[in-house]
Every structure is written in C-alpha cells, then in structure tokens.
Subunit: 422 residues, 2 copies
Amino acid sequence: MSAEIICVGTELLLGDILNSNSRYLARELAKLGIPHYYQCVVGDNPARIKNVIEVAIARSSILIFTGGLGPTPDDLTVETLADFFETPLEERPDVLQDITDKFARRRRQMTPNNRKQALLPVGAEVLPNPTGTAPGIIWQPRKELTILTFPGVPSEMHRMWEETAIPYLKNQGWGQEIIYSRLLKFWGIGESALATKVAHLFDGINPTVAPYAGKGEVRLRVSAKAKSASEADRLIDPIATEIRQIAGDDYFGFDEDTLASVVGQLLRDRGQMLAVAESCTGGGLGAILTDIPGSSDYFAGGVISYANRVKTELLGVSRELLSQLGAVSEPVAKQMALGVKQQLNADWSLSVTGIAGPGGGSSLKPVGLVYIGLAGPDRSVEIFEYRFGSERDRSTIRHLSICHALDRLRRKLLKISVTITS
Amino acid sequence: MSAEIICVGTELLLGDILNSNSRYLARELAKLGIPHYYQCVVGDNPARIKNVIEVAIARSSILIFTGGLGPTPDDLTVETLADFFETPLEERPDVLQDITDKFARRRRQMTPNNRKQALLPVGAEVLPNPTGTAPGIIWQPRKELTILTFPGVPSEMHRMWEETAIPYLKNQGWGQEIIYSRLLKFWGIGESALATKVAHLFDGINPTVAPYAGKGEVRLRVSAKAKSASEADRLIDPIATEIRQIAGDDYFGFDEDTLASVVGQLLRDRGQMLAVAESCTGGGLGAILTDIPGSSDYFAGGVISYANRVKTELLGVSRELLSQLGAVSEPVAKQMALGVKQQLNADWSLSVTGIAGPGGGSSLKPVGLVYIGLAGPDRSVEIFEYRFGSERDRSTIRHLSICHALDRLRRKLLKISVTITS
C-alpha cells in the first residue's frame, strides 16, 4: 500500500508556478505514515493523463490528484478518470445546489461551464470543497485502489485535505503510526566528512538517519515511526545525542533553529549585546539577526561601512591602513570590529570585509577573500580569513560570510559558561 | 521527441523542500521549444529509479535528471542509470583531478566518498560542474535517447544548464524557434487594477500578455514566438511601449531589473550617493542595495539603529522625541533620515522605522505601522506612513518596507532630470 501524488496542469509543465501542492501533500503523507514513493506532473491532456493513471495503478494503491477540476474545457481530471475506468458520469443535485448557492452568495453569474463541476463518476463520494466551487471525489473504482481528487488552488486543497481527507484516511487505518522527524543542523563540516563520521547510523531502520546539504549548512534527518510524539522522542533521543557527541561544536541546533537564532539565544542567556560592522555584506548580517522577533534583546545595531569614508568616520578605521593595505585586510577587519563595539557600547561585535565579486578581485586578493572580525567583552579581537573561491557567485559569498561570522561568535560564546543569577 | 524531468531525492518525497528544479527546467524547456509532457519525482532507491526510467523511456526521448549525484551512499542516480542500461562505470581521471583541485582550493579534506563522483558510465560525456564537486553526464545509452544529469543544488544545476546543456541542445537543433519573454515590472498598483487597465491586450496570440503577482510587485509577461531575439523584440516592443504608457510611473523596469537596481542606476546617472538608517528592517535595505555588483558607486553605507541608543548617539535623534513619541513616529523617521545623510555626507538618505511584529503592537501603533523618511540634496525631508496590516507576518512587513522605501526614492529621482555632461 503506497500513495502517489499526481498533479495535473499545463502551467506546471510551462514552469509558470512552483509545485507547492506536491510538497504539502508529501509532508502530510509522511505525517500519516502513508508510504509514498512517486510523484508525477502531467498536462491537461486526456491521453497523457491516462498514461499516468496506467503507470500509477501498477505501482501505487492510493492516487492523489490535484488540479484539473475547474470549470474550463481544459479541466479534464474527473472526466478522464471516469473514462479510464469506464464509468459514466452523473450530475449530483447536492453538488449543483452547492455551486449555485456559492455563486448567489458572491453575487456572481453562474456560467454553463460551472455546471460541469457537478458531474462525478457513478459510485464516487463527494469530497466537499468549503471555499471553492470545484468539489473533489473519493473513489474506489476497483479493489485495493483509492482515488482522491483536489482542485489545484492550494488554499482550497489544504482545507479539503484537513477537513475530509485526513479523517477518511485515518478511518481506513492510516495515521495510527506517524513518522516524526528531527532535523539536526551543522556548520563548519562538509556533508561527506560528517557522513563518514556517522556512517554506522545510516543502516538503522527505526529511526532512520539521512544527510542533506545546502549552502554550507549540513543536515541530518532522524526519522522515527511511532504511535505518539513521546514514543518517537524516546527513539530519536539516543541517536540525536550520539550524533551531537560525534559532531561536537559543529552541531548547532535542530528543526527551526538557525545560526542567527542560536547565537541570539546564547547572547540572551548571557545578557549581552551584539553590534555589527558590515562592508561586503552591506547589512545582510543585521538583516538575518533582526529577522528573529525579539532580537532587540541582544542586537544593538550596526554600521554599514560600505564606503571607506564610513569606515574611518564612523568606525575610526585608520586612513593610513586603508590606503596601505586596502579595506579587505586583517587590520581593517580588526579596527571595524573594535570601532563598532565601542561606538555602540556593545559586549560583542562582528565585522565583515571582503570581496564578494564578481569584480574587484586580484591575484593577491581574489574574489571570495573575506575577513571576519570578532571582538569580545575583554577587548580581545580575533580575525578569521576565508577564501570561498572566486568561482562562487556574489550572493553565495555574502551568504557564507554571514553564516561563518555567526558561527564564529557561536563557537566563542559556547566556550563561555553562563552564570545563572536567580 | 519530448523531454521528461525526473527529480531524484527522498527529501522531495518527504516534502522537506519545494521542487524548484522542476520549475526551472520546465521554463527552460519551454524557452527552447522542447516539448515536455511529464515530470516525475522518485526517492533515492535503485528499484524505484529503474521503474521511473522504464516508464520514461517508453514515452520521452530526453530524460533530464536532477539530484542523487552527491558523495553519500544514498546518491544513486548515475550508478542506477548505468546498471539499467547494463553499462559499466569507469573512473574519469580528469573528473577526479577536478574534484581533488576543488578540495585543495577550499582547504578541505577530500574523503573516499568523493571519489565516487568521478565514476561515470562508459560512453557518457562529462557535463562539467564549475562550482560543485558532482559532475553531470550527457549520455546516449541507445538510439533516440539522451540522458542529462544534474546535481540537485539549484545554483550548480543552473550554471551547468546554461553553460553546457543549452549549447548542447541547440546544437541538436532545438531552440530554432524560441519563446522569448519580457517581464514588465510594476510597483504601487495592484494586480487587478493593472489587469483592468490592460485587459484589451490579454487576447493577443503572438505576443501573449499574462499577469503575475508577488509580494507587492506586479508583473506582466509579454511572450513572443520567434526565430530570433530581434524578431521577438519587434513583436514585443510596441506592446511593451503601450503598457508603459498606460502604467506611467508604476512601471519600474523589466526582466532582471529590481527596485534596487533601478534606483541604483538612477543614482549612478546623477552621480549621487545614498545612505540608509534602518530600524525595523535591521540592515535589509542595505543588503538589497549591495546585492548588486558595483553598488559602491552610489551606496555609501548606513546605520542599523536597532536600539534607541544608536538612534540618539549615531544619528542625533532627540532623546526627548524618542521618549515622548516613541521610535515609530514621523519625527523620528525624519531625524533618522537627516542624521544619516549628514553623518555619511550623502546626497540622499532613506530611513525606516516601524513595527514588524509579531509583538510590540498597540491599538495606536499596530503591527505593520511603518514610517519611511526620504531626505534629499536640498535638505528637504518627506515622511511616508504605511499601515501594512497586523495580519501580515514579520518578513512580509520588512520586505514591503524595503520595497516601498526604494520606490519612494525612485519616484523622487524620476522627477529630477539628469544633466549629462560630456
């Protein structure tokens, strides 16, 4: 028994829209513990929809369709399903009444097209659509095969899924055991290096462990099948603990945690304030920090010292240093960090100066060269040099600079224990 | 002859990520005029990947795979393809060298896993990956069947598509008649208001006109089918001109233009510098401005005055005003704009102060209340009040604040003609 998601719509084949319906349904199936191995997209074309049905019924037992339920002639999902399973369509008076009522309520003229939406295959149950005019169906055209259809409009589909499909599927025995996942997050270690360290965990059955990589961030998903969240936690906890021990400080958080939120929490715990001085990131570090509600508890603000004049006048960076060594240099990163910490009277400061490209690089200072300064309460300053590689694009270099800056502060804060005063 | 997109990755089946690769490739295929009727998603499982290959080769002649090229044991796309077509894998010394070089340049340890990425089916061409370690392949395992593979990381995939796949497909005769599109962009007018104004253009066949709406930005896509870009331009130009005349200053640019790039160009034309003072946007305005290469020509920098102390000490905002009226008030926005303009000795300045939420709102000052200050070379200051609505989320309120600030400066700059000195 497994489900297959089939999205019908030529707009998906043209790339006009992102397929957010697939993602929504995939997540929902995972939560209910319904196995799901295939997804398809097909255009509004009866022959091709039939091809997809034929392929799907050979490998899946629950087919979930989205799209193609509208009133226009190119909305063909239900007709094609009926045709494929050689079942006549019949007009459902209750559905027709519901559509008529909705038009009346919206004071809009019902067109003959809309009447088509009341035609459902004989034997199919109505899957009511509380907000739109197109109803779905729940249909078992043959033994061991269930078909559910939804309109393509995400808000309508979500509500129909929640109000009717979930109770139906639970009633069929699904969702007694649910897959719970915890996403562990890492910075400062590559995907393959981490995978090598935890390779012995990849063969587990329950929980399972799988790696993912993004831009610099590596993730391990630990998934457990369980009857309740607490049972899942009991299965996941020991694995998560083992992984954290193996990864050490490269582990930074889980699920909704971000480097910025973790740094924020560490600062909040210590009652300390952070200031930033940004050159190549141009405000992006501040933006990520303040993306988090309540960040004013620990973020004072900063200076976007994009022009050199701002570095000297607002941050006190030496004019001589700038002309001799250039803005992208260790001493300038140092003076930026110290300057902003003093100006904003903060406990900690981060500075970023680098060459984000695509222009401005040289053989000595290539695109991707970035200095990060970290100044602390004890007036110490550390400078970190990164070479992200001139083949990377501007936005990646800026993103990596921001994340590494946050990560440096995170690692530093971890070394300083919190004194809890009650 | 038609193409099928096959995305491999259990993370897609779990709904962890949106399938943006399908959309990107679908659009690219449409541009090249390559018919494309089916898309599939399958997990990292050899038997199921084989099932998908079997289905696809019966109905499509170009199979485009993304995902499953990484170094970990669950990255199986290439092995499974080789196995399906009973072709041995061979280690490519040039690919191995390239991977080794990339690790050396990034000063990271190469693991034995990464060596796997140099194993390609005998007879397949390398589809080089300039930024990541996983190369793709272009392979004709049998007559009338072409397979292209790409990594799942979007930035890597896009570059490989543009640099190698497009030239390859064009060389195969595709893309002789191409759909060219121009995306016209608008700010300050709603989708339906604009659609009503240009409704008479929606019935065109070549070019076609279709509206799209995002977060505050409205777009009209004008698409023409033509043998060359210049022929397409001849078809698109008159329609685009008509739309611009109808929309007036609500039209701000096309294709890759953004509010930030358009403002940047207007400033560059005038030889003027901009500074920013950001409170609720926390650096986001600066980040968007500096996302553009060469923005140092017109962007001096700014102050992230998140804490009130920074507003007074770095921007000279009156302590009395802050305590009497609060940071989110017209006079504070005014003093922030004037203060940063003076401090950074800029021609123009923008200030943003508001309540991004979810907390911090009151009945008098609800979440979504934002003041934008705009100071100009003549020492004039204008303040604009926005009420984005407390039902909007933090990131939307911040995004709208940034865009409206840029739009205010854009409209102001448009009123000042440029004196060209040659």
